[in-house]
């Protein structure tokens, strides 16, 4: 239980948790980007395994995924690269279900575990369809993070928080990933609802774009996930240093709050 234990320990120190998202395979330096954001103050890093049809993602991550695929990224290729990485904090992969199914539940879970990956997020695998994958992940010692949404009814929210491992991913708006001008009204409500029913770390993600938004969202939960705002900087030509300086800004704002 390295991911959850790690996040709980950091939370116990009074720290607001920060998990940046990086698209795996996006450019030759993507592993350096993961290392750089880890060193810049992340508490864990989420690495996206690109999929051809990412329905939970807005333009930025769609474009990053497509570019990574054009550059030859493959799921197991990314996992192998992660095995050589050791960023010193937990790694969580985010992938859609079809690549997992194609690789095979047991094979994929054990490859991730062998690579030192601690958790997995599969956004199109809701609670009701979880069994095959979650059994394999549990057996491999991999923590499966579950998403809770603003539309999730109360009894289901409890069941999700119960079954989640690592942390609970509270979806901070009605919609797909992508930068927004303001924090959605749903964000703080989502954080409050999750916190009311679980002791597990609760991170809010989707749409959180700026240090100020991160601070506001983290105030209603235990921390935040920041994806598109970081990936956009990479798509615009930014490298490990640019990624690190953005993550440092987020870290700094969260620490001051």
């Amino acid at each position: 239980m390295r991911l959850e234990a790690h996040l709980r320990a950091r939370r116990a120190e009074g720290r607001r948790l920060l998990v940046p998202y990086v698209t795996g395979g996006l450019g030759a330096a993507w592993c350096d980007v993961v290392r750089a954001v880890a060193d810049a103050g992340a508490d864990a890093v989420e690495v996206g395994i690109p999929f051809s049809d990412p329905v939970m993602d807005g333009r930025t991550i769609q474009e990053a995924s497509q570019r990574a695929l054009e550059l030859g990224a493959t799921p197991l290729g990314i996992v192998d690269a992660l095995a050589r990485l050791d960023p010193g904090i937990p790694l969580v992969v985010m992938t859609y279900y079809n690549p997992v199914l194609r690789a095979g539940h047991v094979r994929f879970a054990s490859r991730l575990a062998q690579a030192g990956v601690d958790g997995a997020i599969v956004p199109d695998l809701p609670l009701d369809e979880l069994d095959g994958w979650a059994d394999a992940a549990d057996a491999a010692g991999l923590e499966t993070v579950l998403l809770a949404a603003p539309t999730t009814p109360e009894d289901r929210l409890r069941a999700i928080c119960e079954r989640a491992r690592g942390f609970v991913y509270g979806v901070a708006l009605l919609g797909v990933t992508g930068e927004r001008d303001r924090l959605a009204a749903e964000a703080t409500e989502m954080g409050r609802r999750c916190k009311a029913v679980t002791d597990r770390p609760v991170l809010l993600g989707v749409g959180i774009s700026t240090p100020a938004q991160a601070v506001e969202a983290a105030g209603a939960a235990d921390g935040v996930i920041v994806g598109s705002a970081l990936v956009r900087r990479l798509l615009d030509g930014g490298g490990p240093d640019d990624a690190a300086s953005f993550v440092a800004e987020l870290r700094d704002a969260l620490d001051r709050a």
């Binding site: 049809d53 329905v55 695929l69 799921p75 079809n98 998403l147 979806v171 919609g175």
Partner: protein, 412 residues
């Protein structure tokens, strides 16, 4: 719009079997969607289950199908084509419905459900544009707001339908991502729905997507098969030997087949072989797909060894999809339905043949069924057999595209 004098002719047969729990058809199907959509799918499932056994709902749907959509559609005996092919060909004429394809059957049912759920906005994906036109039509009829997502490639090749949708008051969004065809239009519709699910219904146009869609859309398309079976009984005194329908996502096919599943009739689904199965450029998901999950359902999909979905190819936008509805995957596994494939060239031949012999211009999708039959009559379909073909739509939308391709050489 309800014409009681016609309503009597519309056969809404008894509800068909529900899938197994969690929307399973022998292991295919299910609900693989972002958590945000789960509550809306639960609500839709509940509402449809209740509505489908509610006499008032069924009567209102039957009234719309009769007085607005023009059902029942005829069964046409094709004398000249039959002479030519040496088999007896009967056409179920979905091309004669209002808006020109079977898509309207499903859309009118979902529009009634939308009103029942208190929602005011419809979104839809479309390939050939027929489902988009049908959805835009229902939106105009019910006073709903409507947005249709269409791959940019399809916007180009189905320009007439784009104009029709706009005329009907719909916003048409050209989707540039991925292969810019039907698959990407569905992706974009799902993304919209994730953001708007509280006041918007996603009107899916085929027997694809998460539970309850494959079941619900099949039930709403059963009317095609129920009518056709009754019409065959009246004409033939029994069932046809063979039933043939084209398969994109598979709604016109399953709507037709569902009336014959318990009979000995041979059932044939015709997928798009595009440039040929061996070229890899086709839409034959049953023939060449492997089990996977896309657009919310476990089914058969064209994909590479890493699980990335491959682009499909077909001359017809409505069959240009790298997957198939989960119930078809189950019927294929059970061996109850044969899935075959017709190439772009077969479809063009069918398009010209039916036009010239019967005065009926078929949609390119349906032309795959005709083209396959023309190729296999006397072969896989024995001489003298009686064959029911579902003519899923009319070909006006394709005329410009075919003209560009074959020029003046239109004689069969």
């Amino acid at each position: 719009m309800d014409d009681p004098s016609r309503r009597a002719g519309v056969v809404l047969g008894p509800p068909g079997p529900e899938p197994a729990p969690r929307g399973r058809f022998a292991g295919f199907g299910g609900r693989f969607v972002p958590e945000t959509l789960v509550a809306a799918l639960d609500e839709l499932e509940r509402e449809f289950r209740a509505a489908w056994v509610d006499d008032a709902f069924r009567a209102e749907l039957a009234g719309l199908l009769a007085g607005y959509a023009g059902r029942p559609t005829p069964l046409t005996e094709c004398r000249r084509l039959s002479d030519r092919l040496g088999v007896r060909v009967l056409l179920k004429r979905e091309d004669l419905t209002h808006t020109g394809s079977h898509k309207i059957n499903n859309v009118l049912g979902q529009a009634l459900l939308t009103r029942r759920m208190g929602k005011r906005r419809l979104i839809a994906e479309t390939g050939a544009g027929q489902h988009g036109v049908a959805t835009a039509t229902a939106a105009a009829l019910f006073g709903f707001e409507c947005t249709v997502f269409m791959g940019a490639v399809d916007v180009e090749r189905q320009a007439l339908n784009v104009f029709r949708m706009r005329l009907l008051g719909a916003r048409v969004v050209a989707v540039e991502g991925g292969s810019a065809t039907l698959k990407d239009a569905i992706n974009e519709a799902m993304r919209d729905w994730v953001a708007t699910v509280t006041d918007t219904h996603y009107c899916i146009g085929s027997v694809v997507g998460p539970h309850p869609y494959p079941w619900m859309v099949r039930e709403l398309q059963r009317v095609v098969g129920d009518e056709a079976r009754g019409q065959c009984a009246a004409l033939l005194g029994g069932d046809p030997d063979v039933v043939v329908a084209c398969v994109g996502g598979g709604s016109n096919a399953i709507g037709t087949f569902s009336a014959f599943l318990e009979t000995p009739t041979r059932l044939v689904g015709v997928e798009a072989a595009g440039l040929g199965l061996e070229t890899g450029r086709h839409g034959a998901s049953v023939a060449r797909g492997v089990p996977g999950v896309l657009h919310g359902a476990r089914s058969l999909y064209l994909q590479d060894e890493h699980g990335q979905i491959r682009e499909a190819h077909s001359i017809s936008a409505g069959l240009d999809y790298p997957g198939v509805g989960p119930e078809h995957a189950a019927l294929a596994a059970a061996g109850r339905v044969e899935y075959v494939a017709a190439t772009d060239e077969d479809a063009l031949a069918g398009f010209r043949l039916l036009s010239a012999t019967e005065g009926i211009v078929p949609a390119l999708e349906a032309a795959h069924a005709i083209g396959w039959l023309a190729r296999e009559a006397g072969g896989a379909v024995p001489a003298g057999a009686t064959v029911l073909v579902t003519l899923s739509g009319r070909g006006d939308k394709d005329a410009a595209q075919v003209a560009e391709r074959v020029g003046d050489g239109v004689a069969p």
